[in-house]
């Protein structure tokens, strides 16, 4: 077993290096990295109150990007909300990457998008639709199947952008944002593609089933002030605020990026995905600890080398404690490690969460600021961790590395480490 671990470490270092050269996003509090980052540093949450079918008003993170910037109105009518989010993010990422798209061989481009779930929105909509017609299925839309196939969001991107390489989604519950990036890095290392659009996306606020499921699980967040409804690590946290969003990155092999003179935003340093194999909903801190340790090993790093830990914590009573337990297991005696959380600003963007949470931290490589986790009125003692950045951003001497945690139901854990390019 031990030799197997060592072999994995060597294999990682011998494979092509993968870098991020572009990024596009939409979050409830920003439709560009600049806007998103500014709000994270300013402590500005943005959570709306929406009418959820059958359930009344609930806090939710709603994105307000310009849907017609990159899509015709007919595309919007035929496609899905998450397809639209995916296209917006991919197009913005392309622009950010500086790629000369007309000269790119589209057959060598892949699209790998993490999703928590897909199809619930359209299925619920159609069930509601035919309920207006006596539940006669002849009123069920013929668009249902192309809208609900699991590859839908990635496929919509390929059609919009003329990409003829591979596309698919990676279903990984709330670890999906990391999983999309990891999948893309692996495909680039294998030489399957030369350019990857990868990350995570979610339209989950448009399905009442997600809200009802969390509510009946006792895990749906609420507060009279919606911007305080999502409060990981706070003693009085009461659950998840469901949000939509997306973050899609352009990934390339380092040699290719250097050859075209690309601006390198960050390098993918290491990762791990593992499974709890214990419970469908309750996270397992032992497996989370192992996941982070393996990601560190593959990155050739020690815990002390990590400067920012972007936590997954969703503001559930037990889930936050489990993650804190795992982090305390790993990050002992790490004075330069800061810990933060993004869901306190934007809620839980489900499939997009990991990808968005990484994005909001990337500018730290340049400005050395660490955004906080907000909405902590009274820190839960069981969530206390050295290095937790509470309510206000802090300036540090340097940020060279970020560990991005994303965990999900059925016990899927993901840890992704990125580093500032050029740092040994």
């Amino acid at each position: 077993m031990a030799s197997g671990h060592l072999m994995e470490g060597r294999q990682m270092s011998s494979k092509p290096r993968i870098v991020i050269t572009g990024l596009g996003l939409t979050a409830p509090n920003g439709n560009s990295l600049g806007e998103f980052r500014a709000n994270l540093l300013a402590g500005k949450a943005r959570i709306a109150v929406i009418d959820v079918r059958h359930m009344g008003k609930h806090p939710a993170g709603v994105c307000d990007f310009d849907t017609t910037k990159w899509q015709k109105r007919k595309e919007l009518r035929i496609g899905t909300r998450v397809g639209s989010i995916s296209i917006f993010c991919s197009r913005e990422a392309l622009g950010d990457s500086g790629l000369d798209w007309d000269k790119v061989d589209k057959s060598r481009v892949g699209v790998y998008l993490g999703i928590t779930e897909h199809g619930n929105v359209e299925t619920e909509n159609e069930i509601h639709n035919i309920s207006q017609f006596g539940n006669d299925t002849k009123y069920w839309t013929h668009h249902h199947n192309p809208r609900t196939v699991a590859n839908n969001p990635a496929g919509e991107v390929t059609m919009n952008m003329g990409i003829t390489g591979p596309h698919y989604t990676i279903g990984a519950a709330c670890a999906a944002g990391n999983a999309g990036l990891i999948q893309a890095a692996q495909m680039l290392q294998l030489g399957e593609v030369d350019i990857a659009f990868a990350g995570g996306v979610s339209e989950s606020i448009h399905t009442f089933g997600i809200f009802a499921g969390f509510k009946n699980q006792g895990a749906l967040g609420a507060h009279e002030d919606p911007t305080k409804a999502s409060r990981p690590f706070d003693k009085n946290r009461n659950g998840i605020v469901i949000s939509e969003g997306g973050a899609i990155y352009v990934l390339e092999r380092l040699d290719d990026a250097l050859a075209r003179g690309a601006r390198i935003i960050a390098e993918i340093a290491g990762w791990c995905i593992n499974s709890d194999a214990t419970d469908a909903v309750l996270p397992n801190p032992e497996r989370q600890t192992e996941c982070v340790h393996m990601a560190l090993k593959r990155a050739g790093m020690k815990p002390q080398d990590i400067h920012i830990v972007s936590t997954h914590a969703t503001a559930t009573a037990l889930g936050d404690i489990q993650e804190c337990t795992a982090l305390r297991n790993v990050f002992t005696d790490c004075p330069d490690t800061r810990i933060n959380n993004t869901k306190s600003f934007i809620g839980h963007c489900m499939g997009a969460a990991g990808a968005l949470e990484l994005a909001g931290n990337l500018p730290s490589f340049e400005d050395n600021w660490v955004h906080p986790t907000i909405n902590i009125d009274e820190l839960d003692p069981e969530c206390a961790m050295p290095g937790l950045v509470i309510n206000h951003p802090i300036k540090v001497a340097r940020v060279d590395t970020i560990l991005n945690n994303s965990f999900g139901m059925l016990g899927i854990n993901s840890a992704l480490i990125v580093k500032k390019y050029g740092v040994a």
């Binding site: 015709k72 109105r73 007919k74 017609f133 002849k138 009123y139 013929h142």
Partner: protein
């Protein structure tokens, strides 16, 4: 309901399903697919909207009758009349 009324009904449906199209210059005698960007799924949308909004059924064998505005009007007029419209 007149044939012109029916043409307007169809145009209103097309305006919803093909919102990027300029419908002011549609020639009633020319096949819709030859002058608008419409595919087979769009024609199924026309069939669905006739069903939902007007209670009109168009059997698959008759889809060809929806080729142009003129053919739509000729085909749909008796159906609308049968509905008392």
């Amino acid at each position: 309901m007149t044939k012109d009324d029916i043409k307007q009904v169809v145009l209103d449906i097309i305006a919803d399903i093909a919102p990027d199209e300029d419908l002011t210059t549609v020639k009633p005698e020319v096949r819709l697919r030859d002058q608008l960007s419409l595919d087979s799924m769009d024609f199924l949308d026309i069939v669905m909207e006739l069903r939902k909004k007007h209670g009109i059924e168009v059997p698959e064998a008759d889809y060809v009758q929806l080729a142009s505005l003129d053919s739509c009007a000729n085909y749909l007029l008796p159906k609308f009349e049968a509905k008392g419209k």
